[in-house]
Symmetry: C2
Subunit: 191 residues, 2 copies
Amino acid sequence: MADNYHHGNLRQALIDTGIRIINEKGEDNLSLRGVAAECGVSRSAPYSHFKDKEELLEAIKGSVNDKFTDELKNACAGTKSADEALIAMGRAYIDFFRRNPDYYTFLFGRQNIVAHLAMDKIHEEDYPPFLLLREMYKKHLKENNLKKSYKEQELDLLKTWAVVHGMASIACMTGVETGIDWDDPDNGVVT
Amino acid sequence: MADNYHHGNLRQALIDTGIRIINEKGEDNLSLRGVAAECGVSRSAPYSHFKDKEELLEAIKGSVNDKFTDELKNACAGTKSADEALIAMGRAYIDFFRRNPDYYTFLFGRQNIVAHLAMDKIHEEDYPPFLLLREMYKKHLKENNLKKSYKEQELDLLKTWAVVHGMASIACMTGVETGIDWDDPDNGVVT
DNA sequence: CAGCCATCTTGACACTGTCAAGTTCGCCAC
DNA sequence: GTGGCGAACTTGACAGTGTCAAGATGGCTG
């Protein structure tokens, strides 16, 4: 049967059902054998597409990261100024992980990002969400006619990222409703 | 032999070697059987002290959390004002996870804290490090003769925790050296 | 048509968490 | 002391896991 052999797009199927399983049952309950089974394929078929279980997880991570980055971009899309965009991004960042708490550990747990990007300092890295933040931040400086030293900019970016990222983490841990008027504080931090 | 039976303090021994293994080989490579073996005890001996592997992990987590809280307290100890104490705590918080990056995921990963403390909102929780932060924050308000609404206080605390926690997370992910003059920014955020 | 080779399968192994049943031994009532 | 209770520990067993080696399949290229 041509059904069993040459599945067609097993690689993508594995990634997709992998994401679904993580959503339904959490990262802990994702097994290579399980993913393979749900794709209607034998236990070691995945080894034709991924060296490791780890490599499949990395691929899934990449996919989730794309979705995350898209949501951040969409949040920016409807805004008229860089200031608005920064606020919208902050909201979207936190919302994303409030809606999918499991993704926080999944994306940021372990040494994933380090392994992926091998960056030395934050401002040298190419983590897409951070690139987006920097871009908007520079726009914000231009629009408001602000001049800052490189050091000051670096610190602003780090602080902004930290506060938003921290809020997301806290929101995931506690399930807290961030009853916060982002229009004020985020701006306060950035400027 | 009295050596095999009634180990004496197996419970604590399991926790201690558990911590050691996590330090040496990471959480992923910690197996119940492994811990038991290193304690010179059979594979299911741990089940006399812990219901689960999860219950052992929780115990280890508690132990690590104690160490973390101690370091924060020690950081406060040498300070003369609440403002100084807050800064010292922020530094200690970030330093702790820069020294032990694995602990970040271990402590804050999954739903650990939620499961542990079952808190609804941040200001109602009893997570020791946060209690310490709030205590120092209130001292800071008193020492500086500041009056703030409950809402404002809540927001200050959340923002402060978020920025410090976020910095810690970022530091763990990136291994970045936080070349930051904490004497300025932290104060700026808190006040 | 021949055969290459990516793709997939089956068999096997070591390792894991967990349970049931049995063993050991300190301790307490008699 | 002696009996035995019960906590602490052991051994045997089972299902599930990641991974590899060897073989089967079948679309593509010559």
